[in-house]
Symmetry: C2
Subunit: 337 residues, 2 copies
């Protein structure tokens, strides 16, 4: 049979309240009593029922993390960082990865009484009102991706992508590149990618001859895998536009783009320099090794949890911006001519 607190209490000759008190180490139980209780716990191989516990405490000790895909190791690392940090504090994390059913997840969060959720999905996938609805129900949330969320209600964690992009542009410019393409993955009017803003700002600031002509927008559903990079690069080559450098919205896109470039007779970096974002491990082994704007993905996940934890502990929402770092490898070089 299933052993409960009552069994333990009976064996130890105390009340269930006392068992609770020792198990939750409230410190208000005499040492000798506590020992009796622990002995019974061990003897019966008793393990507390978290569900019953949640029922009383109104805290499920469950978190949700929602993201579209795990095919990009970038997200895998973020999940890992988040989950490990959460676990340290006795939270379990539910992974929610779906491309088309985010709404269902939000309903589930409410009905399952999760304590908090980390939304790392593409923002165009959901409605901010759904998020606020969670908050109204007492669920803390942290978002990522420049959703333009009300920071009184939800926390946020971002990378300084605008600055990062400017840094890349500056770097490329100093290498002599002026015809710099950007494989953006998203569309210009989508507000959540500050990379686009950084790019456009620099095009103007540096007075680049290409203007906005080399900003290659993405197409619905805006996936950003290797295949997409391959296709975007193939398209821009086919268009006949001239360029000597291409920045990509992430490393996967960059890797796919390099493939297309090579197939079409371009040498990387001799003919065209390529830069990615994310700093996934693969880039280091690519040929040529990928120059990338890297960030600490594990740390990103950990930090997201910390902020969420703070909010759950009553400290209120917070926002944070992670540092990114340009890692120069072999896919970029001085512009020839």
């Amino acid at each position: 049979m299933h052993v409960t607190r009552a069994d333990v209490a009976r064996m130890a000759g105390v009340s269930t309240a006392t068992v609770s008190n020792v198990l939750n180490s409230s410190g208000k139980v005499k040492k000798s009593t506590a020992e009796k209780v622990m002995k019974a716990v061990r003897a019966l191989d008793y393990s507390p029922d978290m569900i019953a516990r949640s029922m009383s405490t109104k805290r499920s000790m469950q978190l949700g993390i929602v993201l579209e895909s795990l095919s990009n190791p970038f997200f895998g690392d973020i999940v890992k960082g988040f989950e490990n940090a959460a676990n340290q504090k006795d939270y379990f994390v539910n992974i929610c990865t779906g491309f088309n059913k985010l709404d269902e997840y939000f309903d589930n969060f409410i009905t399952r009484r999760v304590d908090g959720v980390f939304v790392a999905a593409l923002p165009y996938k959901f409605n901010m009102d759904r998020i606020y609805n969670l908050v109204d129900k007492g669920i803390k949330v942290i978002v990522s991706g420049n959703v333009g969320a009300d920071l009184e209600k939800v926390s946020s964690i971002e990378n300084d992508y605008c600055k990062a992009m400017k840094e890349i542009m500056q770097y490329l410019y100093e290498l002599g590149h002026t015809r710099i393409a950007y494989l953006a993955g998203f569309r210009k009017n989508m507000p959540y990618d500050l990379r686009i803003k950084g790019y456009l700002d620099m095009v103007r600031e540096l007075d680049l001859p290409c203007g906005e002509d080399l900003l290659i927008e993405g197409n619905y559903p805006y996936t950003t895998g290797m295949q997409d990079g391959y296709e975007y690069a193939r398209d821009i080559i086919a268009s006949g536009k001239k360029f000597t450098a291409v920045i990509c919205v992430n490393d996967l896109v960059a890797l796919g783009a390099i493939k297309a470039l090579k197939e079409n007779g371009y040498k990387v970096p001799e003919d065209v320099s390529v830069v990615g974002f994310d700093g996934i491990e693969f880039g280091k082994y690519w040929e040529p090794e990928l120059t990338t704007m890297s960030l600490d993905k594990i740390r990103f996940g950990e930090k997201a949890f910390e902020i969420l934890y703070g909010d759950m502990a009553g400290k209120g929402t917070a926002s944070y911006e992670l540092a990114v770092e340009l890692i120069v490898r072999k896919s970029t070089a001085r512009c020839r001519e």
Copy 2:
């Protein structure tokens, strides 16, 4: 305030039992009553409390999936397949990714009353007794990785790696290769990788001149990422052993190995052919494109859930073997000489 079944019942002018009956669509409620109830549900924006529900039903509708890492997209895809299938049946899945704290997870599964768990971690990481302990507590489990588990107690899902390996060997042999190395990642005496068995069998069957000399064992902690592949390949090159083909325990290792090979002046596939396992997307974009023994990772995750679901539904344990398929690309070629 938080709205409960009692509120709904009051508004609809029925008992809470009736509300339950319509919400669980037991079909024993008059249509007109059900409509009254649903109207109240909507009016109050009521959502059921799964925790309270679990409390009565003794089912948490939570699953666990444990794996070491998400850095390899191979696992990301498996998680995705598993999670999506689980979600279809109203299960939430807890992701448990830790390299060193598997035991904690097992305790948590019990205390949190998960209904089932999918253990996709390296078997040397845990003790089978811990798994059986879960089963004794009523938690269904499915394992992967040839743990030599008692199939009366737990389900299993495997790939036919032994056969797959033999197929690769045969393929390479027909291409004229006889000095075929295997970067095994694990040690020979570890029982859970049937690839090793397949390799050794074929070495004998084909009467290969290398004997066991080209079986390169892994070192603790037996990680199998690109860095590892890079190092294993570097080591075998340094050893001076002659080989014309190398099979790798997974694609990541293969990709790292190719990098090391190239750096040391070997051309792939002209000088040495390389084959991986898994069929992750990256291989397709590599240079050269990677020949690999591929399997449907999403399907793998889905199938694992199906089996677990069957067990949870009382159908008992089951075991399943997934088909794998050799995808020949550009990293393998006829042996010259």
